[in-house]
Every structure is written in structure tokens, then in C-alpha cells.
Symmetry: C2
């Protein structure tokens, strides 16, 4: 099966700590690398995790709090200094372009790097990117500033040719593409083989949802129902519900209740407040409600089930 | 003697590596903490080195290449989020304010933090800050963009009261301030004690010069002659002189020749290109010319002699 997995680059909240980096993730869909959020220091963590920076061609920024995008100028500068060619696409609120533009272009060595901004709205439910492998759709979140989540929907792959059948009937390689796309095949002696006999269906498409920073929003559950993997912020434990309400964040229990409501395969909590020297209490709180929960840590690779 | 020392936060050049952070230093003059340059990730390294961020009230930015200031938005945001009160002063080229302003204020929790910009020119030889302990003067450098160095001149302290003499003649505490400031003292029985008899002179004022990024500029030597400590960039070894010329940097040999010309007490080289997995060749090259050389490393504390 083609890869669909995420790599945690950073999972702390506004104030960085020595244990955690600010928000950033690499989402690998069929070996296309997407960066979701880009807190300060992301470029260096990409080096540490062995991610080839030049292969990141598309970046999504959930909102314009510094811990989600202050690493972007440095990353883009390093790409330019490294003579990376082609386009890097940035999906974000339109204000990001106004913020970044004055900071860029001042250090550029490469004329071959073209940064393309794709502004999106805070209304959500907008498919902001789509290719033959994946679509990326925004979700409207509830935070102190405009903020969106992202849902990565894998597209259904073409079915697989059955190698046993192909060998037995002598299906030529040249005919395989048409068969995968839905046709049957007629052999030189006139025997007709229907499409269904020649293929096995591809796997069910997988879904990954990235939801941070926000108060829990039960109405979103229907939009990601059955997602294999959900990353949901859990900035606080329940004893800090007042802070969660004040700063528009979620508790671990609220993240878990949302995961249960959305019937996801697995919950990954993150965006930890710097008050926690150890996230075990957050993880325990969430698992009580939704057992299939893990706590994000830098360097963790999670397959989308 | 009151402290005058620097702490290396970062000493790599444009592209960060896993071994080095981009440029930043904390200069401690009599327990006032100044930050000189602020590359990406500086705030986290300050935490790592135990520097209380809230005590940094004045920041100097040599030039507007990203590796010298991309850590500033994050640092300022964290100060605001930490409810640090009062003023933080930033000395830099005027364009910095235009770059930073759109990125700030969006995440502020504290209304008590006031960021004050002090634009300086690229012409150099401008005393951009002065208090009763230190003055900071710019030096014009030669780089691809406008760039200045900084010279920290400690001011001469008041002389010290001689405790043996004070005890013998019964000099009251209430008279000591005037004596330190230059007066003599007349005892109740009419005996006159001249100033010179009552004090020992304070130590010679110390000087620290910070020079990066630049081609070597021998004409600056006269302006920092006899400085106790010089930090001078040494991006390359001499075999990369073509790159040094092309990108307006210095080689280790050139830094050492400059240090010799300026008759400084000690040279600290830094701003290493990412091509060096080990700076020993740079250090050896410099020491051949100027033996009192050390190679900057993150976390290193260097006293200004």
C-alpha cells in the first residue's frame, strides 16, 4: 500500500520548551510531502528527522499565531539558499503573504524558487488542494483568531491486476492500464475476460484530520466521521478548563469526546501547554474516554490506518 | 570586578545545522543583559542556557539577513505571553520595524510590553546606546546588504575607597560617595585627607567588539585597537577565498590578520559555513596568525579581558 503517514515535528503550544517544538507536521501521502504548520525552528527539526526540505512543495498554515508559522521565513530562505528550484505553494489566510513578503527576498541566492500563495477563508469546507492522490479540505475552527483545520482525503486508487490471472491468460503489460481503469480484455483467441475477473479492488481510501487550535466543535464530527487518524489539540487537562475556555483551546477529555463522536480509528493529542513537564496526565485523561489515543512526541511517525 | 562577558547562543552562518544555531549572543555588562543578533530559535536556546528572557531589555540587530533576526518575532511574542512588563528596545536598520510590526501584536496577551525601535544608519561610528556602565557604538561593515558591527565600551568605574585608610581615619559611610566622585575629606578635628589618599583607581575600562558579517576591513582596526575581546566572523577557511569574496564574508586568516592589526587581547571566531563539520581547520588557520584565538561554540561563556 502506498504510504500515508505523518511525522510530528513539533507539538507544544505558544511558548516553546526544551522538550517540545512549536507546531509542525510532515504529512506523507504517496510520497508527496506536505508541511502542516511551521513553528519556529521547523527547518532544523526537518534536518534532524532526515526530511529532504526540497521535497516539500506545499505548506498549509492553520492560523497566524506565531507558534504556527514563525519558522516559515527561515525555511523558505534556506530553500532559496540551497538552490531549490520550482514552486513552493503556501495555503494560508491572506494576511500571511503581507507578513512574509517583507521578510523574504532579501537573502535570496536562487532565482529558481517561486513562492506561490493560495489564500483561503476561515469559513471552512473548502477544498484547497487536490491532485490524483489526495484532496485537502479546510474545517472552520473556533479560536481567538481565524483558524482552520485540514482534512487529507486519500483518493481511491485504481484496482490491482491479479497477477495469477494475468499470468494464466497471458494478459500483456500493454493492456494493463486499460484494465485497471475499468475495461475487460479480449485475448487473441477471442476469449473475453470481464474487468472484475482481472482485478482486485484497491484498499479503502484513508483520511487524516488535523484540528488545532480550537474549542471542541462537535458539529465537525460528521465531516471527518470514520477518519483513520485524528490529530486534535489537547492543550490542557480538565482541571484547566477555565484556561481552555479563556484561550479557546481544548482539554484532553474534550479531544477524546470529539474523537469518540467522530468515530475515528485513532486519536493523537498534541499542542501541549508548557505547564506540563510530562503529558501522561493528558494521555490518561483522554484514554479514559477514547482508548485508541496516543500522545504526540517529536519524531513520532504515525501511519494513517 | 563587575561582570563583562558574552554567552554564545549561535555561531553558524546562513544555513542552520544540527551543530550550530544561527547568530545570537548575550552580552552581560555589569549584569545588564544585551542580546546581539537573534537568529531563528534563539528564545529556546536562551531557555537552554538559563538566561532569564525577561531581563533582556535591549537588542541589537547587525543586519537584516534572516539568520540574524528571524528569532525576534518568537522571542518578542514569548515575552508578551509571559506577561513581561516594561520596554524592550531594538536597535536595527529602520526596515526591521516594517518587517516585524505585521507579525507582532497578533498574539499578545500582555499590554504591559512596549517594543521601542531605535533605527540606526549603516554609516557607523554612531553611539546608539549609553548608560552609566557602557556605551554601544556601531561600526560600518562591508556585506551584501547594509550591516554594522557593535563595540561595547565599558565606562570607567568610580575609584574604590581604601578600606584600611577609611577605618584608620574614621571616614563615615555618608562621605564615601563624594570621595568616590573626586572629593577629599576633612575629619571633625580639621585634618584634611586628599582624594588620592582615600581611593585606589578602578580597573581599566574593557571593550568588546562584535564584527559580522563582512569582508575584513583593516580601516576599522584603529577604532577597536586594544579591545580585550573581538568576535569576528570567519565563515570560511582560506581555500574558500573565492566564496568569501563572492558572498562578502571573511576567512579565518583574514579575521586573525585583522585581530593582529587591531592588537586585541583575544579573538573569537564564528559564523561558520555549514560546509565545516568541525571548525578545527578554521581555528588552526587563525592561530597561525593570531595565537590568542578561540573558536566560538554554543553555550561558551567568554570573559572580556
Amino acid at each position: 500500500m502506498l504510504p500515508f503517514r505523518i511525522l510530528i515535528i513539533g507539538c507544544c503550544s505558544a511558548k516553546p520548551t526544551l522538550r517540545h517544538n512549536p507546531s509542525a507536521q510532515v504529512v506523507n501521502v504517496h510520497d508527496r510531502l506536505f508541511l502542516v504548520d511551521c513553528g519556529e525552528g521547523t527547518q532544523r527539526e526537518l534536518i534532524r528527522r532526515g526530511v529532504p526540505m526540497g521535497r516539500i512543495k506545499r505548506i498549509f498554515i492553520s492560523h497566524l499565531h506565531g507558534d504556527h508559522f514563525y519558522g516559515l521565513p527561515g525555511l523558505l530562505n534556506t530553500l532559496a539558499l540551497s538552490d531549490i528550484q520550482g514552486e513552493v505553494h503556501i495555503h494560508a489566510f491572506p494576511e500571511l503573504q503581507d507578513m512574509l513578503t517583507p521578510m523574504l527576498g532579501y537573502h535570496k541566492r536562487s532565482d529558481g524558487l517561486n513562492i506561490v500563495f493560495h489564500p483561503h477563508s476561515a469559513a471552512g469546507y473548502e477544498t484547497v488542494f487536490e491532485d490524483n492522490a489526495v484532496s485537502v479540505t479546510t474545517l472552520p475552527l473556533l479560536h481567538g483568531v481565524p483558524c482552520v483545520g485540514y482534512v487529507f482525503h486519500e483518493k481511491r486508487s485504481l484496482p490491482h491486476i491479479r497477477p495469477d490471472v494475468a499470468a494464466r491468460i497471458g494478459l500483456p503489460t500493454s493492456a494493463m492500464r486499460a484494465v485497471k481503469e475499468g475495461r475487460g480484455w479480449t485475448s487473441p483467441d477471442g476469449t473475453q475476460y470481464p474487468h472484475e475477473m482481472l482485478v482486485t479492488p484497491s484498499h479503502e481510501p484513508r483520511t487524516y484530520a488535523y484540528i488545532t487550535d480550537t474549542r471542541p466543535l462537535p458539529e465537525l464530527a460528521a465531516h471527518i466521521r470514520g477518519a483513520g487518524l485524528l490529530y486534535h489539540e489537547a492543550t490542557y487537562a480538565s482541571d484547566c478548563i477555565e484556561k481552555a475556555l479563556k484561550y479557546c483551546h481544548s482539554t484532553a477529555a474534550e479531544a477524546a469526546e470529539f474523537a469518540r463522536e467522530a468515530q475515528v480509528g485513532k486519536l493523537l493529542i498534541g499542542h501541549y501547554s508548557d505547564r506540563y513537564a510530562d503529558e501522561t496526565p493528558l494521555l490518561q485523561e483522554a484514554r479514559t474516554i477514547f482508548p485508541h489515543t496516543d500522545a504526540a512526541q517529536e519524531g513520532m511517525v504515525v501511519e494513517v490506518p
